[in-house]
Amino acid sequence: MSVRDLLPIVAVVGVLALIPFGASANTVLNFLVFTLIIAIAAQGWNILGGYGGQFSFGHAAFFGTGAYATAMLQVHLGLNAWVAFAIGIGAGAMVGLVIGFLSFRSGLRGSYFSLITLAFAEVLRIVANASAITGGAAGLLIKLDVRPANFQFHSRAAFFWIGLALVALVLVLTRWLEHSRFGAQLMAVRENEDAARALGVDALTVKLGAIALSAAITAAAGCLYAQYFLYLDSTIAYGLWISVEALLAPIVGGIGTVFGPLIGALALHGLGNLTSLMAGRIPGIDLVVYGALLVLVVAFAPDGLLGLVKRLRARLFRRAATETA
């Protein structure tokens, strides 16, 4: 991976990092932190879905595990918040491995895989809703104790920069993936699993690696959510909403690309907020737009916004070339 590969990432992250200096209103920062959390979760999904071609409909299972793990370790064991964060990521990866092992070992692909991930997330939600250790239906509250050592900050900008750092980390990781042997094998499995096996790719191991990585990243998003909002319940942690957000953003932004999830998250949430502002506080209106957008993107722009941009550029170049000819 060369400096040239990292340049776009540095540029984008650099520009975004300046935002809190220009727009310091709480509502704006709130919106941005939340959007970054979604972006991280989406980046996780993108590894398994975009690069691996395995469409999970239950990424909430990893988000919620990270969130609950972080919260429970602090609430029940008094563990340091940063340590709990790290363990939360690990717990997410573990859950990913278990679900991946069960599903891939049985040879589940395509829609069946999507369905089973949905089921796993639901099982976790039901269990979390019914267990005392997760606070049951009442949920879990992390004690408010605003100190940096506690991963709690007065300034929302601090959360924003931490979220941005995580996003940047995963952007670099994704770029590395694109240039690595693991990434090449993963994409081969996505395109044609049998052909990949014939070329010596251990498809099962590759898919397990992908789901573990994907789960760890999405779990990190969950951990950050828990630290920022300090409250969880089973619907927030394991609900369908986060599974949908995690897959919608990459698809809208550009599936299987480095920046797709980030662009998608910003576009979707920007659009969502815009819709809410214009249509008033009608609950569900922003999601109606999301759903419609999903249908439109799949119908007319399967490569998402980045794909549209690529196609436009190609068309402009062709026109320029014929004009100078």
């Binding site: 409909f57 049985s106 589940l108 829609s111 639901e122 698809i251």
Partner: protein
Amino acid sequence: MFAPEIVLTAVLNGLLTGSVYALVALGLTLVYGVLHIINFAHGALLTAAMFAVLVAHLGLGLDPYVAILILTPLFFALGYLLQRFVIGPAGHGSDTNLLLVTLGLSIVIENALLAVFRSDTRSIDVPYAFASIDIGFTLLSVPRVVAFVVALAVALALGAILTLTDIGKGIRAVAKEKLGAALVGIDVNHVYAVTFGLGTACLAVAACLLMPTFYVTPRVGNAFVLVAFTIVVLGGMGSILGALLGGFIVGVVESLCGLYFGESLGQIGVFLIFILVLLVRPTGLFGAKA
């Protein structure tokens, strides 16, 4: 340990619930068997149907059982149009695309209902809602027995349509061999749309049967759709008999789980079955190879 009457009651109630589950699953399995798509919008469409029953009752004073006659053709048309002009064209024939399109549709429908009706739980008041039959050792709710009978009747009718009518034969032809069916002059797009319409029509009937004893919120379809998926996978994608049997099995399991593990964990039995079936025998009891 529970007394045998209590267990038996749970089983019977499970069968009654299961029949309506089966009715919901029928539409799903039919759509999969013919179009080979997993319709994620199924639950949202059920919710829409249930709200339609609500509106028909509150707005027009229609009894849910009477509403069956109006809503069934209405929802058939809705399903037909959705498949013909939205899902089919947007999907470009790719499996993953269709999955995403139906997911998008479900989000749109569910949240549109949320925007219009808000999230309060609503239900309708009918005089026979609490009527019951005494069968000796227990009481059975009349609306649920009616639901059982109607659901079975619909399943039979669906089977009859598929075997005896021309369009039914067309549907079966397309399910078996799409290209061949097209080559002998069957309008595949029309057949797809009719199949989808039949699926939503089943949902309309199910909604009318549920409303007397159930409640409706914009999210209620979600609970049903996952159960429906379990039934379809258990019974075998594309098998009507499988959907019926699967519905009964799932209904009974859910009822017994609720009895032994408490209400909040009752649903977990269903999902565990789902996961187990997918891992061990994805083709289900009666399904063809996936």
